[in-house]
């Protein structure tokens, strides 16, 4: 790490002190400018610059956090708990980097993809909504104020509904998917804010650190705090697609414009999962009986059922993007299992899987988008011969698919092994069995597609065999960045595993 710290020398002091506010103000203001910007090419370029700056800032702030520890930014100069604070600690710094980085990757991919999928006059508004979504996600991760979380949750959600509905130019079903998401997402946000309201009633503060302190003084609080916990878990469960509340997700992922799917799959549910971690372990504490019960019966229960059922559903999907969407629900189950076991090792494993899965799913959806871009492929049976017609795209898909299954030397292996060993350490041998079983199910749904791609010859169109037609370079770059990142994490996992252990130690204390 000392080598990395030298990067900080290059960063202006201003960025390190004011970076937290800069991180959410920049995309917010640029989104407003973008909304009136008439030129679509400038729109892409500006978005690209903005997300690049965000990535650099997030990375610098994460390094700075690793060096000096938790930093608190006083918004408007008002000190917490009365003012709104922006907090960067070991728990949210990696998530911030993840969101910024995935937004950059999505924007690179979006350059060719939006040309194919979004009408020219809608492209500038598309990027405006995209930046708003980025601002919302960064804001809800960075803020230390519980009501502020709700505001940013709504900023990101509302822009996401718009983005999903923009898929209507390609497939009209995007409209009903967006409406479905709007209704369920709003219910989720309402539940969440009701929970915050009850917490405010119980503690009289909105600052999360202050809430945690007062709840600890009250020894977990009265029934009001229990109700608040229930509302918050259900609200966030809707947002992060916890098993029975996931019904909005497959439609939204399948019919949104492909760059939106990439971004949603890799960040939106992850930010909600981060909030679940923040609330269950930081604001509340697993030492309260109701939190422990919630973790054990709700998060683990729903997580495990989701792992099995969503994996089975993924096997029977005919639409490739729906298949990966159900797989996402299953993967969320792994993270919930890790959170639910509630030991430092298991929370670290769940957190690790959060990061790894974001990279894996982002890359997989980019590969699917490239296939649609070249051949209009949406169904799994159309994959036949793709190993010959799009070898590079299919190569990235294969690497990422193997990572999703959990083959050694990939990111998925690292997080699944960590999760399984954490479960075994806690004596949850049945959970290890479930992890193995669902990995086999993942092998079935990914392998089914890979078999078609590599062992079938390309289809005949008008009597001629389809020839090689590789994806454009701007799609190959982000796709392979994800693929190589997943292999890199699989081979040399110290940095990411270290970050996840630091995050878990912040929540549960060392050991």
């Amino acid at each position: 790490m000392p080598v990395m710290f030298s990067v900080l020398e290059l960063m202006p002091d201003w960025l390190l002190t004011h970076g937290p506010a800069f991180l959410m103000a920049l995309p917010l203001l640029m989104a407003a400018i973008m909304a009136v910007l008439p030129n679509k090419r400038v729109a892409w370029f500006t978005t690209f610059i903005v997300t690049s700056i965000l990535t650099i800032t997030a990375f610098a702030l994460a390094l700075y956090n690793a060096k000096v520890g938790t930093t608190i930014y006083k918004m408007g100069g008002w000190a917490p708990p009365h003012g709104i604070s922006l907090v960067i600690d070991a728990l949210n710094a990696p998530v911030l980097v993840l969101i910024a980085l995935m937004s950059l990757i999505t924007v690179v991919y979006a350059m060719p993809a939006t040309v194919a999928e979004i009408k020219p006059n809608k492209r500038a508004p598309f990027y405006a909504a995209f930046l708003l979504c980025v601002a919302g996600l960064l804001g809800m991760v960075i803020t230390g104020d519980a009501f502020n979380v709700f505001v940013f949750l709504e900023v990101s959600s509302i822009s996401t509904y718009v983005l999903v509905a923009m898929g209507a130019a390609r497939d009209r079903r995007a409209l009903s998917a967006a409406y479905n998401y709007l209704i369920l997402g709003s219910i989720g946000a309402t539940f969440f804010v009701i929970g915050i309201g009850f917490l405010y009633m119980e503690t009289g503060t909105l600052n999360m650190a202050d809430m945690a302190r007062i709840l600890a003084d009250l020894d977990g609080g009265s029934r009001v705090a229990k109700v608040a916990f229930a509302f918050i878990v259900i609200g966030l469960g809707l947002k992060l697609a916890m098993f029975p509340l996931h019904t909005w997700l497959p439609g939204a992922y399948a019919y949104a414009p492909t760059p939106v799917t990439v971004f949603l799959a890799s960040t939106a549910t992850k930010a909600a999962l981060y909030l679940l971690l923040r609330f269950t372990f930081f604001v509340f504490d697993p030492s309260y009986a109701y939190v422990a019960d919630g973790l054990l019966y709700i998060l683990v229960g729903m997580g495990v059922i989701g792992m099995v059922f969503a994996s089975l559903q993924a096997i029977f999907q005919t639409d490739a993007r729906r298949m990966l969407a159900f797989s996402s629900v299953a993967q969320v189950g792994y993270m919930l299992l890790g959170i639910g076991i509630a030991t430092t090792a298991s929370v670290a494993a769940g957190y690790l899987h959060l990061i790894n899965h974001a990279i894996i799913k982002g890359g997989l959806f980019i590969a699917l988008g490239a296939m649609w871009y070249r051949f209009g492929i949406t169904r799994t049976e159309d994959f036949q011969g793709l190993g010959k017609t799009m070898p590079l795209t299919m190569g990235a898909f294969t690497v990422l698919g193997l990572s999703l299954i959990g083959v050694p030397f990939t990111a998925g292996f690292v997080s699944k092994v960590n999760l399984a060993s954490a479960a075994a350490d806690a004596g949850w041998w049945w959970a290890v069995g479930i992890i193995m079983l669902t990995s086999i199910l993942a092998l079935v749904y990914i392998g089914r597609v890979l078999l078609l791609a590599y062992f079938q010859s390309p289809p005949q169109v008008n009597g001629e065999t389809v020839i090689r037609n590789e994806a454009p370079i701007m799609m190959l770059i982000p796709m392979w960045v994800c693929a190589l990142a997943s292999v890199f994490i699989g081979v040399k996992s110290d940095a990411v595993v270290g970050a996840s252990i630091r995050a878990a130690e912040l929540l549960l204390g060392a050991g």
Binding site: H18, A21, F22, A25, L28, L29, A32, I33, A35, V36, Y73, K74, M75, G76, G77
Partner: protein, 158 residues
């Protein structure tokens, strides 16, 4: 308003909306004035940008209801409304950027003037103005969006 039939009807005193028109012409400026009162009184009492924005938009919406969407759109073009939404956000965020340049935290108004309490005063005025502009524009835009979906009620349907 240059429809000859309508002009004739009005000259003959058969305009069915004459009471509405006269009263709302009298009320609209008062509503707008009240909006400004709520806006600037927000420093000292209940009120502020959001409430003022809604009231100001209500005056425009009343105008549109009585004189027709077309007349309202001529007075407040949708294009302008779109810029208004952005302008308000930029006013708000821009205040934050200015405080950055003056060396304070984002939206720390104290640095806006030599005296911290004056700075807070200027800052809240600028920010609330931003809220006013955006809320007014968004309210009108929502009304236009719903109002444009179906033809206006014709005189015979009253």
């Amino acid at each position: 308003m240059s429809d000859p039939d309508r002009d004739l009807e009005r000259m003959l005193g058969r305009d069915p909306h004459v009471v509405l028109r006269v009263i709302s012409k009298f009320l609209i400026p008062l509503i707008a004035l009240f909006a400004l009162y709520v806006q600037f009184h927000g420093d000292y009492g209940p009120g502020g940008g959001f409430q003022a924005g809604v009231i100001l938009a209500a005056s425009v919406i009343l105008y549109a209801l009585v004189f027709g969407l077309k007349a309202a759109k001529a007075a407040f073009p949708p294009r302008l409304i779109r810029y208004g939404m952005t302008l308000g956000v930029l006013l708000y965020g821009g205040t934050g950027v200015v405080t950055w340049f003056l060396g304070g935290e984002f939206l720390n108004y104290s640095v806006l003037a030599h005296d911290a309490s004056h700075g807070q005063h200027y800052g809240i005025l600028a920010v609330e103005l931003g809220v006013l502009v955006t809320v007014t524009s968004v309210m009108i835009a929502i009304f236009y969006a719903f109002g444009s979906r179906q033809p206006e009620t014709s005189n015979e349907d009253w």
